[in-house]
């Protein structure tokens, strides 16, 4: 059987293959990516869709935690200062109840407790970047002065709570409404304070004692409400750690799917270069050599 005298197509095909391998290796090293188009790896490209959505979400969850923590911490420290104020009110009330006070003293004590009430209301109206911490989901100051109210203040907020998304299936409640903390009917802090003011103004010792006791139990209530905020804080911090882990997982998934191992790619590139040079050299030797080169010119 005759041998195929036309080796040119075969040699050219081999050269093209080696050139193509070289190009791919070069592309991978310079871009760091193994996959730039769906056809490079359809499966990996399809999985990257979800990866990119997840990555964007995880970034945002992390940012959410940061901004929410600010408010939660603000609320918690506000309540701490309220506890301090209430403790002071209790000692004022205790003093007022010992029966040795002059009416002038009592008047002074009453005024001091009144001041404490004002500051507690101010605390209840704390806002961070325009958001009222204790108004539920309203956007106006939770407590306004209202002479017709027994406490002197009306709650304008609502009882709604917001939960903020901090994970794919995780939302964390981030607020307590003011009417739960400060003007809860079963334990009305503002009410207790204003009762103490009235009691001091009246000078009735037993009344003062009763009012002082009410303020004491208000302290317990506030402390309990504070527990909510510290609980929220620790849940948020825990979730932050989880999200950090998620970020690492997503990032290495991305590398596995479409990235290239640079040292491996560099090795492949130099191998491809060597092979290509060899193919070119071989072709250069083989192709033009026919007997025609040796035919004597007449």
């Amino acid at each position: 059987m005759r041998v195929n005298p036309n080796m040119v197509p075969n040699i050219l095909a081999d050269l093209q293959q080696s050139q193509s391998t070289l190009n791919t290796a070069l592309q991978e090293v310079s871009s760091g990516k193994r996959v730039t188009l769906p056809s490079d790896d359809p499966n990996a490209s399809a999985q990257m869709v979800q990866n990119s959505i997840d990555t964007a979400n995880v970034d945002q969850y992390t940012q959410n935690i940061t901004s929410v923590l600010t408010n939660v911490q603000a609320a918690s420290s506000t309540l701490s200062s309220v506890v301090t104020s209430l403790t002071q009110a209790v000692s004022l009330g205790t003093e007022g109840a010992n029966g040795t006070n002059s009416s002038a003293n009592l008047a002074t004590l009453a005024q001091q407790v009144q001041n404490i009430l004002t500051s507690v209301v101010a605390a209840a109206n704390t806002s961070v970047q325009g958001i009222y911490l204790f108004g539920g989901t309203t956007s106006t100051p939770p407590y306004t002065a209202d002479p017709s109210s027994p406490t002197g203040y009306t709650y304008n907020g609502n009882s709604d709570v917001n939960s903020v998304a901090v994970g794919d299936n995780l939302s964390i409640q981030v607020n307590l409404p003011g009417n739960q903390i400060f003007s809860n009917p079963s334990n009305n802090v503002l009410g207790a304070l204003s009762s103490l003011v009235t009691a001091l103004q009246s000078g009735n010792s037993s009344q003062i004692s009763t009012a002082t006791t009410a303020v004491s139990s208000a302290i317990n209530n506030i402390s309990q409400q504070q527990g909510f905020y510290s609980g929220a804080q620790s849940r948020l911090n825990a979730q932050e750690t989880v999200l950090q882990q998620d970020t690492v997982t997503l990032s290495s998934q991305q590398t596995n799917l479409i990235g290239v191992d640079l040292s491996k790619a560099a090795t492949e590139l130099s191998q491809a270069e060597t092979a290509n040079s060899a193919a070119l050299a071989a072709a250069a030797k083989v192709l033009p050599n026919t007997l025609l080169n040796y035919l004597p010119t007449p």
């Binding site: 040119v8 197509p9 050219l12 035919l295 007449p298």
Partner: protein
């Protein structure tokens, strides 16, 4: 002696005639070989021709060399004792050979001119092979004017 040399001459003349005819056939063989593109046969025929023509050379010398007779004044030196008819046949065979040779030489000239043209044409081939793109390769064609 004379009788022997006469017989030898006749025999030689006979051989001469045979050789002329064989050489003629050899030329025909050569022409057929060229026509059939049979390079082997051509080479063999040329070799045979070489051999035969050198033999003819010797024979012609012998024929034309003087016999052991007194010098004559004629320009030719053929022994008159060779058969007249034989000489006639030799001459005519030589004539036909000459004609054949003429035809043969024209054929040779013609062929070798073509071969020379082709050889110079193709030994000037310095073609480049272009790569085709894609998985399919096309063989390139080249041509030039003669």
């Amino acid at each position: 002696m004379i009788a022997v040399s006469v017989r030898t001459r006749t025999v030689q003349a006979g051989e001469h005639l045979q050789l002329l005819r064989s050489l003629g056939r050899e030329l025909e063989r050569a022409m057929q070989a060229i026509a059939q593109n049979d390079i082997d046969a051509l080479e063999q025929s040329v070799a045979n021709q070489q051999e035969m023509s050198s033999q003819l050379n010797h024979l012609a010398d012998d024929l034309s060399s003087p016999a052991e007779t007194p010098l004559t004044f004629s320009s030719d030196s053929i022994d008159h004792s060779i058969d007249h008819d034989l000489m006639h046949e030799i001459r005519s065979a030589a004539g036909e050979l000459q004609q054949l040779n003429l035809r043969y030489s024209i054929l040779l000239k013609h062929s070798s001119r073509s071969v020379a043209l082709m050889a110079s044409l193709f030994s000037s081939f310095r073609g480049e092979f272009q790569e085709a793109s894609g998985a399919r390769l096309k063989q390139q064609t080249w041509s030039c004017q003669m």
